[in-house]
Symmetry: C3
Subunit: 213 residues, 3 copies
Amino acid sequence: MWTMPPVDTVLHVLSLVAAAAQAMTAALAAGRRSMDWVGVCLLGCVTALGGGSLRDVLLGHYPLVWVENPTYLAMTVAAALVTIAIARVVHRLQLAFLALDAIGLVVFTIAGCEVALQLHESLPIVIVAGMITGCAGGVLRDILCNDIPLLFRSELYASVSAVTGAIYVAALGLESNHDVATALAFAVGLAFRLLAIRFRWEMPKFVFTDERR
Amino acid sequence: MWTMPPVDTVLHVLSLVAAAAQAMTAALAAGRRSMDWVGVCLLGCVTALGGGSLRDVLLGHYPLVWVENPTYLAMTVAAALVTIAIARVVHRLQLAFLALDAIGLVVFTIAGCEVALQLHESLPIVIVAGMITGCAGGVLRDILCNDIPLLFRSELYASVSAVTGAIYVAALGLESNHDVATALAFAVGLAFRLLAIRFRWEMPKFVFTDERR
Amino acid sequence: MWTMPPVDTVLHVLSLVAAAAQAMTAALAAGRRSMDWVGVCLLGCVTALGGGSLRDVLLGHYPLVWVENPTYLAMTVAAALVTIAIARVVHRLQLAFLALDAIGLVVFTIAGCEVALQLHESLPIVIVAGMITGCAGGVLRDILCNDIPLLFRSELYASVSAVTGAIYVAALGLESNHDVATALAFAVGLAFRLLAIRFRWEMPKFVFTDERR
């Protein structure tokens, strides 16, 4: 099904939708901390575009996406402002947001792998680039909100990103058909994330206490 | 008046003064958290030079200002150390610091726009580059002090930076005289910031609470 | 003694050991905050490789070490996972860890100076590059753990890094023999750090309180 329209177009549209969704969840996080409107927009931009920016800076891949194409900036700002207007409704759409966020995680991961592949990076770096693109925006959001990043404490999020990237890379290695690899990684990654949410799968935690520090 | 000496020289001097002022306010923030002298110097450097560094890294504009010209580093370290020596006096100069900080915000913003213009970035990116240069140093300071960035919660700070950048870009577009554009953006931006402080203008806040998270 | 095997080989081995040690101390910090296994690995990687990455990004020195050589990534992840397995034993090895961490600080500093020298940076920047490489990983760890960076509040850590870099640069200037400079900087830096730990040397603190903020 996902292979019927050109997969790249689908991915691009999904990635815009995902960026908007990440900006909106960041805006809600900002609202919980009573930030002002500017803070809401900034937090939205950093969350939605921070992962890709960090990847590009670490790989030396210039110009950054939003520098080359400022529409992304405008869209995330718009998404953040819309969130302020419709916060009461958003509240009831929590399930939709969880799904959009999961799509964002998977789509950003695949897009990050794609960039690293075009730079001819080695396979581990391709997967890491996917993980940075998918996860780092949320980490930056949590740092700016003065929280310990959710990513470090909880559900299968980075793991979903790693699995998605690994499937994408493996499928490309076996199939060499770009569209099939994308569709496969997308489907498995999204299913994995949604199942993890539904059944509250969690990584084991490492709890360490020492009497004296 | 501002156009009588070469505007670029005035800007350069003001930008050194502004960097020193930002390092000094950062040093006071460090002192409130009982950091040691090294921490005071590091926080001063990150605050004064962090905004320009982040802009250059995001735009791929190498070498960074302080790498090419380490005098900046020496000056911010000196400003931080001086602050330790004269902390009791500084205390009474709060108004002067607010003014210097406002000058710093506006001057850094214009300098950031200038760099992006030289790189032939698009207009939105020019304004964003100005905002990053003017505001990001304070955000880094607040992250290192383990606070939610002031920028996100309070007065017109990022907004002043955005307005300053927009005026600068608009004036350049209309006048094409670099000095007039600089002087105009400086005057309006500074007045805006000082009025915002004086009359406690604030951005509306987005307050969002949900029963369950 | 240190000059008997090729110094660069010794340094390289020590730097691998040091990276592993830093990943392990970061893993313990993660365990104190009950992070999950993924968080433990991520925190280990950021701590062990973050300083060098920040240096390379600020100096525009691409590709980054771990991008070119993903073995570093694998090793830090492995070190973090091993820490989970042997946490109880690690507990008793606190002294060994302090020593390994001190070695890491000094070795990373020298390696950072080396990189900046190869880029023909000026002497202050060479020393700053060493300090960033030696210290920034721990700062990133503390930010992600939502603490005020230890570096800013406590023992001689950044100072040891600065002294090590200064000795290295000075020795190179006087001797021009790379091995002697390395050995000298390593020995003095390590001794300085260990003495600072042993005798609880501390930087003076800057304590500033104002009635109103």
